[in-house]
Symmetry: C2
Subunit: 293 residues, 2 copies
């Protein structure tokens, strides 16, 4: 890969651009927001695109715009190969098919990385380091296209994970989208809490609710693009919580303890950040007065 | 304070002992588990108690044992003043009254600090540094007793927060106990997830579920001691999640977005770790493909 085009110079697009620049790839930038391109240029992410032909175009735009932008770019013959970074895959792939795009040169992708902050100013060349990067090629995808996108993933320091689009979206519902809504519901429960209660908050509550600070309008788009899988996960969690509440009211502590054990088991299935086991020595978990006997 | 007795040499008790030792207080240790006392001694937390009279006795035992232990110690005239560190307050105070203990010399307390790991080996002298430490004196509590316990809190580097026992337990349900059950329910939903899905987990999921790794038997005791307030909070969260799932199924994204906004507002009410605003620059929140437009 010698030349790349990044369409959408937000957090993810600009981070991809910075990572590619470190590997001496020529990077062109494009965004509907001219200021975002200007900022990304200032941060050294590349130069404004004026129609140059490139090897790879990375569409870092919201999920519902992937199909449209891909159709535009293919019409202009902008790149040999195309990929996107949208956090849902089934709907954008359906759009791409509906709009009659060339699917051989398009490799659907999704880097599992992010920050609470958005925009080009939050971008970092090492944002993807050691992170999974899902690729969802279909039977119609060209093997050379997949190779080039794998080169992109590798240049960003991420680990490519090949997965079906439907499987990807179900996985995201389970490990990202539903947990986000749950974190929001816990945070929402604090809205009416009194000052003293909030003043007693510990690191545990901060961790549980951290992602609830994310932008609701961005998350609305994601949830909208993965609504049914997310609803399914939320229904199971809501049922577990309603059952736990009923058990607490009737004093059936065994039922609640069973949920806690299932939580320990489920938590143990999350791989550690670098593939190892998750650290258990962070501050904030065990409540006072119960660790000592 | 010259001499103190710590009853229960687990994480919290041993950490209190270590903090007091740094302030040159003579610390005696007691535990039903002789090995736990031996370990705490090895870590320099003090020496085994053999009946010496002390200024302050700190009961670092599970909530349902506070009353019993206090009655024993008062019968022996072990200390001038007593406090405990249990994470629920209404039930232990009721036990203390029921058992006919002297309530003038007893100041109910709860340091808001902990770790996932338990036992004396996990103890740290700085565990309470900058953390709130709830005190729930009643009208019958002696002012001198409160002064001595405040000296303990200050020696541990914590900030005393005076609060009613019922108010304390409601606050804990909101900011600690219910969020723990919710984290467990999210973690429990991962039990049946496939390897690929779990492999795509990010820092957001790790944060939401971190506290779910806590010991279910310890948490059973806590939840049992604060069942109705916790049930009330869980019911509200379960209802919000069920409504969000229904809205996603019917495509009413406004209702879901409203929950996300309430989450942003509620999250904004949590004070930062050192009193300042919560940092928003930690890794993991904004999903790929939505930050750039």
């Amino acid at each position: 890969m010698k030349k790349a085009l990044v369409v959408g110079t937000g957090l993810i697009g600009t981070s991809v651009a910075l990572a590619l620049r470190e590997k001496r790839v020529t990077v062109y930038l494009s965004d509907v927001d001219a200021r975002a391109v200007g900022l990304a240029e200032e941060f050294g992410a590349g130069e404004e695109w004026t129609g140059q032909e490139v090897d790879l175009a990375v569409l870092a735009v919201p999920p519902h715009l992937v199909g449209e932008r891909l159709a535009d770019l293919q019409k202009r013959g902008a790149a040999r190969v195309y990929t996107d970074v949208a956090s849902v895959k089934v709907d954008p792939i359906a759009d791409v098919a509906r709009l009659g795009c060339d699917r051989a040169s398009y490799v659907p992708g999704h880097p599992l990385a992010g920050r609470e902050r958005s925009g080009p100013a939050a971008a970092r060349a090492d944002l993807f380091l050691g992170r999974p990067w899902a690729l969802c090629p279909g039977p119609e995808t060209d093997a050379d296209a997949v190779r080039l996108v794998r080169e992109l993933v590798s240049m960003c320091g991420a680990n490519a994970v090949t997965v079906g689009a439907r499987e990807h979206d179900s996985a995201m519902a389970l490990v990202s989208h539903a947990p986000h809504v749950v974190a929001s519901a816990v945070a929402a429960s604090l809205e009416g809490g009194d000052e003293i209660a909030l003043g007693l908050a510990g690191q545990g509550l901060r961790d549980v609710t951290r992602i609830a600070a994310g932008n609701p309008l961005l998350w609305r788009m994601i949830l909208s693009g993965n609504a049914l899988p997310v609803a399914g996960v939320l229904e199971r969690i809501a049922a577990d919580l309603a059952a736990a509440a009923a058990a607490l009211r009737s004093g059936e502590l065994d039922a609640v303890t069973d949920l806690l054990w299932r939580g320990v088991n489920g938590h143990g299935r999350i791989p550690g950040r670098h593939g190892g086991p998750v650290r258990d020595d962070t501050v904030g978990g065990t409540p006072a007065g119960l660790a000592g006997r």
